[in-house]
Symmetry: C2
Subunit: 340 residues, 2 copies
């Protein structure tokens, strides 16, 4: 950066005929400065085009002006998480701050990265996402008094969710899918989930299971299978396991679009027709879902991002916001549009 | 952050029995400190668990420790750009720095955002991507002596590419696709491109066109159509235009996976079989391509990210690195695996 040409605070003070401390007060505590002096210094700042460096301002305000966001070091979810990152970055910028992006391994191993950023005072707060069951980050940050807000719940063992959070009601969305499929005559509704202990996946599966029970469906005819990996191939293998069983399902609820695409591929490979012989649904309404006519659940990305950023700036308290997902109906599961 | 508990530089100085300036020298210019003193201060730093704040260190080193990366405020490319962002963040972390993520509108409008970050000294350098034809950022940054490296070329009007860059040879990849299709007997090879003036799209189209000319193919039988938007629907409309012409193509090269999926949808809608009646190729080898058996071009993401970061730290000079794309052959265009 061309620092040599930058106007200095000393030049502003000289131009306004005040001390450097007075200029500093105008920048960081204008309420302490008399109106006439304030106007004089502000005129000098404008005349010289002075812009304080972020570093100098950080020392004065004790704020880095940055919100930390850790990318999960894993593939798979990025079809949905990256649009969220775009929306969140814009929401944070609307508050005059930027995003400090970093990567961290999942679980306890990742805490060292958070500790380093805190020790360096590199960020003012964190947005936590890609949460997993018993995610250690929320309690760890809360114990240290570090401001944060979470997109997604940590599902701690004791049921006490630390810190503010926003999430999509995945359980409710999957219950609505099961109810809609039942209304179309399906009684054997399978589920393809993740093997990895992600909070969102367990939540979605619980919603499907609870609705099947509420409808009085036979639990031996509504079976869940876990895919080893969140991939198209993983979804195809899980679907094969369901379809090879003694009482194969006539509908399959997938925990993600990626797995549901694998289910669709396996359905087609067997010469069956999706949306007729077997109904299939996904989750996330990614570009994948639109491309192949997959019924899916859309997460309200812009509202999730705006909410998580607003939670950062509310007084520190444990509060959660649950937003509904929107069913997007397509040919793979042509549900009645009145499905709620 | 709990600053009250942090160990201060003053405490380190007191513990080591040296001045605060000496501790500062140890942190920021250890070559100026005598070995015995260095060892003594380092022992005190370790004993007390002292970590200098990033802000204090920034003032001392005049480095923010952050590399700026602007997200394009547009949808579409994210299927490929977001994996690049993950890889780049990891590459930058390996150099002990982090990413400052921001959004900026395309073109000249976006320069104000770069100017603000420079004025605040918020970043040490920029990684520029999502480049468009005549992208103003490269020349603008180079004129101001701001360090940067670009993923993608700016294709300036005068042909002089400012600053270091890395890119994938899209022209060569599309020429190889055209040659491979011709080797399989195709003589009417269409192209579906972007209407927006993206550098990458024009480059790919030039490669396809040059190879068709080299092969002596009739230019009225090898036609390019631009999709209004980079979407599945845009690709389908462009394909319909090609297939409705007097001499419809038997193969279509798509400038992106998203458009190619639209082409495939239109092919299927007409009862034609992809990879038999009409051969179709995409670009990026996104998860979309794998899910529907689309022949595509894979960009070497990890190598691109590592290269752009290494270019940041080389002495400032105009140099470019062109990496080859890899043809990934699938059912939509079952080219001979010897295709080069």
């Amino acid at each position: 950066m061309r620092r040599g040409e930058a106007v200095t605070l000393r030049q502003v003070a000289s131009h306004a005929g005040v001390s450097r401390q007075t200029v500093s007060n105008v920048l960081n505590a204008p309420e302490r400065v008399e109106p006439a002096t304030l106007a004089k210094v502000q005129a000098a700042i404008e005349a010289l085009g002075y812009q304080p460096s972020r570093t100098a301002r950080s020392l004065a305000t004790r704020q880095a002006g940055l919100i930390g966001y850790g990318l999960a070091r894993q593939a798979g979810h990025s079809l949905f998480m990256d649009p969220f990152l775009h929306a969140m970055t814009e929401s944070i910028e609307q508050t005059g701050r930027h995003v400090l992006l970093f990567t961290a391994p999942p679980g306890h191993l990742g805490l060292q990265t958070y500790a380093d950023l805190i020790a360096q005072r590199a960020v003012d707060a964190f947005v936590v996402s890609d949460t997993v069951d018993h995610d250690p980050r929320h309690a760890w940050l809360a114990e240290r008094g570090v401001p944060f807000a979470s997109f997604g719940r940590a599902w701690p063992k004791d049921g006490d969710q630390p810190g503010p959070w926003v999430d999509v009601d995945g359980a409710r969305a999957c219950a609505r899918l099961a109810a809609g499929l039942h209304a179309e005559g399906h009684t054997r509704i399978g589920f393809v989930g993740w093997q990895a202990p992600t909070s969102a996946g367990s939540d979605r599966q619980r919603g499907w299971r609870a609705e099947c029970e509420r409808l009085g469906l036979d639990e031996h005819e509504c079976v869940a299978v876990s895919a080893e990996v969140d991939s198209i191939e993983g979804g195809a293998r899980a679907a094969a396991e369901l379809l090879d069983s003694a009482v194969p399902p006539t509908a399959i609820v997938g925990v993600s679009d990626l797995l549901a695409v694998g289910v669709l591929n396996e359905v087609r490979r067997r010469g069956l027709r999706a949306g007729r012989d077997i109904w299939v649904t996904g989750f996330d309404d990614s570009v994948l879902a639109a491309s192949i006519g997959l019924t899916s659940v859309r997460q309200p990305i812009a509202e999730l991002a705006a909410t998580v950023v607003s939670l950062l700036d509310t007084p520190y308290e444990d509060r959660g916001v649950l937003l509904p997902g929107e069913l997007v109906l397509r040919g793979s599961a042509p549900l009645n549009s009145g499905t709620r």
